[in-house]
């Protein structure tokens, strides 16, 4: 909603710091600026106008700017002697900080500029046809040398309000003036329009046959002349970014802006009866709206009819069959009130939003309906030479529901945490135009009819808080009886995040909405979830894996010359009836390095595995990896399931070399894990005394078939080593010369200890024999000599 100084000052004395006051007390001010960002423009009269001797398109004029005549070279082809024009004299400034200076154009002196409306910064589509592409000229004499913007009714400021849906009262200048008056201690007086009616009786009769219409007034006009609006009306609308159409249409727009009353006009000649009937549409009834479009209706839509046929889609748009044209001479003027919900559903379903429907949807003051009708009537008589017949056809079907609000006398102080006297409070009530009844302990408050948003005590609390001053409210600490603690799960998630970052991984956050082809690229956790009417194909489905997001990040960084990338993300994945947390890791390129010492920890399968296992060791969680071949986008021979308590909880592997190449990535390894099982896995343990006795260490080098995994062997070693075996470590893996084809050598370092006594060599020898025997039996392992 736009408010201009010119329209506001009709109602009140404008307080100082209007934008600041509005922003602080009423509603957010989105923009505040002069209506036209030009200074020093004055009225001038073109005395002479001759072709420029050296330029075909230019004219040399002399312009009287009030006691002084200036030579001005003008490029407009519509400039003529005798015109009263807008002059930007030397020293004035046009929008864009364009300063007018003395100059010579092709040898001719030019001391100023004759302006077009476009040069004043007015959008081209708002400029009347006759002035497009040329200068503006007044159609009446003006005082030469006087302020041109004032003469144009384009002086003063313009303020754009960031309206919230509750404040329907601010959808008119009058409504805004009422609220502002409360903060500047003023009273708004509504004008009493003196209407001169003819002796002919208004022939129309109105009948409301639906609950969707609360009241309906109709006036009948004859001798209407459709013509362009006078300049003040054209330019007033222009200030509101509205295009002037003709006097009749402009009048209804002006009433809409100033009073917030939506009106409609019918060409009376096109009505078949004198009966206006408001009813619900029939299902599938078809009408053609003003814009020429055929609309199929439902029984929820409201229609205005002349009994024979529909003539308007109530509160939304008129119909083509009764629209005003240049030939219209008699008019039926409608001012009505409709049920907001009815208008809302119709305009929404038909996608027909207008200034009219917006106001009906949010709520129009029932008192304002008649006031608007009378204001429009007055303007039609004045500006369209109309004659209005005697009387208003009306039907008051029902009143707007405006409950009174009862609050205890302590209510405001209690909720705001302040000590306001009753006296102060009552002055606030007065300034807000509340009608208040008082009992011993309560106020019974009736807000004014334009404040449809005030329904419950909390609504009044907001009113009192802003007039008291939100910034005047004190601050009080809330004394807590609660204990502020993170849950175990929240703490663990944080620890995990910090640990991964400290280990040397960058945390990323990527989008949850992805393209279809990524959804099951790595894991299928269930039926994909798709959003209705997506913004684009690549934001259509909810992710089931975090890997595509990490790869996108890697690709983005790679394209910006980053070679080494080590990333993680913790976030939700989604499928039908599922939503849970996952962790994903991506490592690509060198991790830690020291070039001048030729040290480097490159990323390979085991780097990622080690980092991952080490991270979870802190949570006392150990995993088993099992070779798998489920992931077609991973290297077929370098992928594994991550198992925990015999359940697959994730996977890891090298990105498939083809994809690596596509993304221009170095060898890249990824891992993904369902997090939920571990987030609640609490550690409980008892301290184990540290052994006082020495260790015995043994090495064991085996030759086995290359298909036997380290884990196969370790499992046997651990089983046979029993309690005394404290640790098994692989220290060498070898395949090649000296080893039979199809076999490999793998060597282990075993550490034994007995916490209760000094361990005997013989005891360890026995255990080693047992281990070797079982390895031979189970995996045909040979001891490597």
């Amino acid at each position: 909603m736009i408010i201009t100084k010119n329209s506001l000052q009709k109602w009140m004395k404008i307080p100082d710091q209007i934008a600041e006051l509005t922003n602080q007390k009423i509603i957010e001010v989105e923009a505040f600026s002069p209506l036209v960002e030009a200074t020093g423009l004055i009225i001038g009269k073109v005395l002479t106008c001759n072709p420029h001797p050296d330029a075909d398109r230019l004219k040399v004029t002399t312009v009287d700017i009030g006691g002084q005549v200036e030579h001005i070279v003008c490029g407009a082809n519509n400039v003529e002697a005798g015109q009263t024009v807008i002059v930007a004299p030397v020293g004035s400034v046009l929008p864009g900080n364009f300063k007018i200076k003395k100059t010579k154009i092709r040898g001719q002196e030019s001391n100023g500029m004759i302006c077009s409306l476009e040069e004043l910064g007015i959008p081209l589509d708002l400029i009347p046809e006759q002035y497009k592409g040329g200068i503006y000229y007044f159609d009446e004499e003006k005082t030469l040398g006087s302020d041109a913007l004032e003469a144009l009714h384009l002086d003063g400021w313009k303020m754009t309000l960031g309206l919230t849906p509750n404040r329907s009262d601010l959808l008119s200048v009058l409504g805004f003036a009422y609220d502002l008056a409360a903060f500047s201690n003023q009273t708004i007086k509504l004008p009493q329009h003196q209407i001169k009616e003819t002796k002919t009786l208004n022939p129309y009769k109105v009948t409301i046959e639906t609950d969707g219409c609360l009241r309906y007034y109709a006036r009948y006009f004859t001798d209407v002349t459709i013509k362009p609006s006078p300049m003040w009306l054209r330019n007033t609308l222009m200030a509101y970014d509205m295009k002037s159409i003709n006097n009749v249409v402009d009048i209804s727009n002006l009433v809409l802006l100033e009073y917030g009353t939506p009106l409609h006009m019918f060409d009376a000649a096109k009505l078949e009866t004198n009966e206006i009937v408001i009813r619900n549409a029939q299902a599938d009834e078809v009408v053609v709206t003003l814009d020429g479009i055929e609309r199929k209706l439902t029984a929820d839509d409201l229609l205005i009819t002349d009994q024979e046929k529909p003539i308007a889609l109530a509160g939304v748009m008129g119909l083509e069959n009764t629209m005003i044209t240049d030939k219209t001479t008699s008019v039926v003027l409608e001012a009505a009130l409709f049920e907001p919900k009815a208008i809302q559903q119709t305009s929404k379903r038909l996608n027909l939003r207008s200034d009219t429907s917006l106001r009906f949807e949010r709520g129009v003051d029932e008192e304002r309906v008649y006031q608007g009708l009378e204001y429009a009537t007055k303007l039609l008589i004045e500006l369209a030479d109309a004659k209005v017949s005697s009387g208003v056809a009306e039907h008051l079907h029902r009143r707007q529901l405006r409950p009174s609000i009862t609050v205890s006398k302590t209510y405001f102080n209690e909720h705001l945490g302040i000590n306001m006297t009753e006296e102060t409070l009552k002055t606030y009530f007065d300034r807000y135009r509340y009608q208040v009844e008082e009992t011993e302990n309560e106020y019974i408050i009736q807000p004014p009819s334009d404040r449809l948003d005030l329904k419950i005590p909390a609504d009044l609390l907001e009113e009192i808080s802003r007039i008291y001053g939100l910034n005047e409210i004190p601050m009080t600490k809330h004394k807590s009886t609660h204990t502020g603690l993170l849950t175990f799960k929240q703490k663990r998630l944080r620890m995990l995040r910090h640990r991964l970052a400290a280990s040397g991984l960058n945390e990323v956050i990527s989008y949850s909405l992805n393209a279809l082809d990524t959804i099951h690229a790595y894991e299928n956790i269930g039926e994909p979830i798709q959003v209705v009417a997506p913004m684009s194909e690549d934001k259509k489905y909810l992710r089931q894996s975090l890997i595509p997001g990490l790869l996108k990040t890697a690709e983005y960084n790679r394209n910006r010359q980053t070679k080494n990338m080590h990333l993680f993300e913790i976030g939700h994945v989604y499928a039908k009836d599922q939503e849970f947390n996952k962790l994903a890791l991506l490592m690509s390129g060198d991790w830690h390095y020291q070039p001048w010492q030729k040290q480097v920890i490159k990323t390979d399968f085991y780097t990622l595995k080690g980092l991952f296992e080490n991270t979870f060791k802190m949570f006392n969680v150990t995993f088993v990896l099992e070779t798998c071949e489920n992931y077609s986008n991973l290297h077929p021979y370098r992928q594994a399931h991550i198992k925990w308590q015999d359940e697959v909880v994730g996977f890891m592997g090298q990105l498939h070399p083809t994809i690596q190449k596509e993304l221009n990535l170095a060898e890249t390894y990824v891992l993904e894990l369902k997090l939920e099982p571990f987030l609640n896995e609490q550690i409980s343990f008892n301290y184990q005394p540290v052994s006082k006795y020495p260790n015995i260490e043994r090495d064991l080098a085996l030759v086995v078939a290359e298909t036997v995994t380290a884990n196969d062997l370790i499992k046997i070693i651990k089983e046979s080593g029993r309690k005394l075996l404290q640790n098994v470590e692989v220290f060498d893996v070898y395949q090649g010369n000296n080893i039979e084809a199809g076999k490999k050598s793998i060597a282990f370092h075993l550490l034994f200890n007995d916490a209760k006594k000094t361990l005997e060599t013989e005891t360890v020898d026995e255990i080693m024999e047992k281990i070797i025997y079982r390895l031979q039996q189970t995996w045909s392992a040979e001891i490597r000599k």
Partner: protein, 339 residues
């Protein structure tokens, strides 16, 4: 004899002093204390002496022996030390050469902000509540007093999944869930998390972003409590000298509703009020739907954009940086940055 001993001592001490290597020093030792060493020989002569003279002579020899040994040991230590120093000297390092380059990890700035806010509120007795991102319309809108035909739904174009489900457009549904969970008992929570709205991504919009909501419900809550909480948060995040300004606004789930501006210092040193969050007293209808008697309980709530905080705090020019995850961007956010 005495003369001889004196001479031996003088010579031995001289030779010890002259020895410049461990080998030479060892030779000195052999020369005096070895089987054929001079002092050994002198000792051998003792048996030729009168038994009465022997103790005095033995004592004299011993005195010399002790003196020579002490000088020898001291000299050896000297020499060894010199050798060690010579060796260590060769181990001189250029301490300015780069150390092992450990890849620098980082926590995402948005999560840093969330933890920062969480820690503040944990200290004030709040707990952290979470909820699903695929949310029921019931919790996201209806229980927040945004009925199906409510004009406020125009304000947020949502990613619907079906009639009843959508990607939550705000973290408020967590409030609804928490209220039901508390079964009418007082509560004090913050709810951080991801939310989604159908905005085209541009420097100031993102279809996915993060919010933190706070909700306190108790018997005696006033607007004064809310103001104190907001100022505490703002100062914690942006510095102790920050001031706030409240302006009336509208949210369906609070009444009164307000927007909060913070007086921020711009990079050029001037100050201006910048809108940062929305807040208000919980709407009685929201309390009622959440299982609280609005006659008995009151509450306040606030919601703040996590990106908004980070943008202002670090003077970031484009919200999309948070989601493109350029490593050079991410690494700038060290932990423990001052407010």
């Amino acid at each position: 004899m005495k003369e001889l001993l004196k001479q031996i001592k003088t010579e031995a001490l001289f030779e010890i002093e002259q020895a410049t290597t461990i080998g030479a020093l060892e030779a000195v030792r052999v020369g005096y204390f070895g089987k054929k060493g001079r002092l050994t020989e002198v000792m051998g002569q003792m048996r030729h002496l009168d038994p009465a003279e022997r103790p005095a002579f033995g004592q004299a020899v011993n005195t010399i022996k002790v003196a020579i040994e002490a000088a020898w040991t001291a000299r050896k230590q000297n020499l060894e030390e010199a050798i060690l120093i010579a060796t260590l000297q060769k181990e001189q390092l250029d301490v300015t050469l780069p150390g092992l380059h450990l890849y620098q990890g980082s926590i995402h700035p948005l999560n840093q902000v969330i933890e920062e806010v969480e820690d503040l509120f944990l200290g004030m007795g709040y707990t952290v509540e979470e909820g699903p991102e695929v949310e029921l319309d019931l919790f996201n809108f209806e229980m927040m007093n945004i009925a199906k035909d409510h004009p406020a739904r125009d304000m947020q174009d949502s990613f619907y999944i079906d009639d009843k489900t959508l990607l939550r457009t705000q973290t408020s549904p967590v409030q609804a869930r928490a209220m039901l969970k508390m079964k009418g008992e007082p509560l004090k929570i913050i709810c951080p998390g991801k939310v989604y709205r159908k905005d085209d991504d541009d420097p100031s919009h993102s279809h996915q972003f993060m919010q933190i909501e706070g909700l306190v419900i108790d018997r005696d809550i006033t607007l004064a409590h809310l103001k104190d909480t907001l100022l505490t948060m703002v100062r914690h995040l942006f510095g102790p000298e920050r001031e706030i300004r409240l302006r009336p606004s509208y949210f369906p789930f609070t009444e009164p509703s307000m927007e909060v501006d913070v007086l921020m210092q711009k990079q050029d040193g001037t100050t201006e009020y910048i809108e940062i969050l929305g807040a208000g007293m919980v709407h009685p209808e929201v309390l009622r739907m959440g299982g609280y008697d609005p006659q008995v309980y009151r509450g306040f709530a606030f919601g703040v954009g996590v990106e908004r905080i980070a943008l202002l705090k670090y003077h970031i020019d484009d919200i999309r940086h948070f989601y493109t995850n350029d490593i050079r961007f991410l690494r700038q956010f060290k932990e423990g940055v001052s407010s």
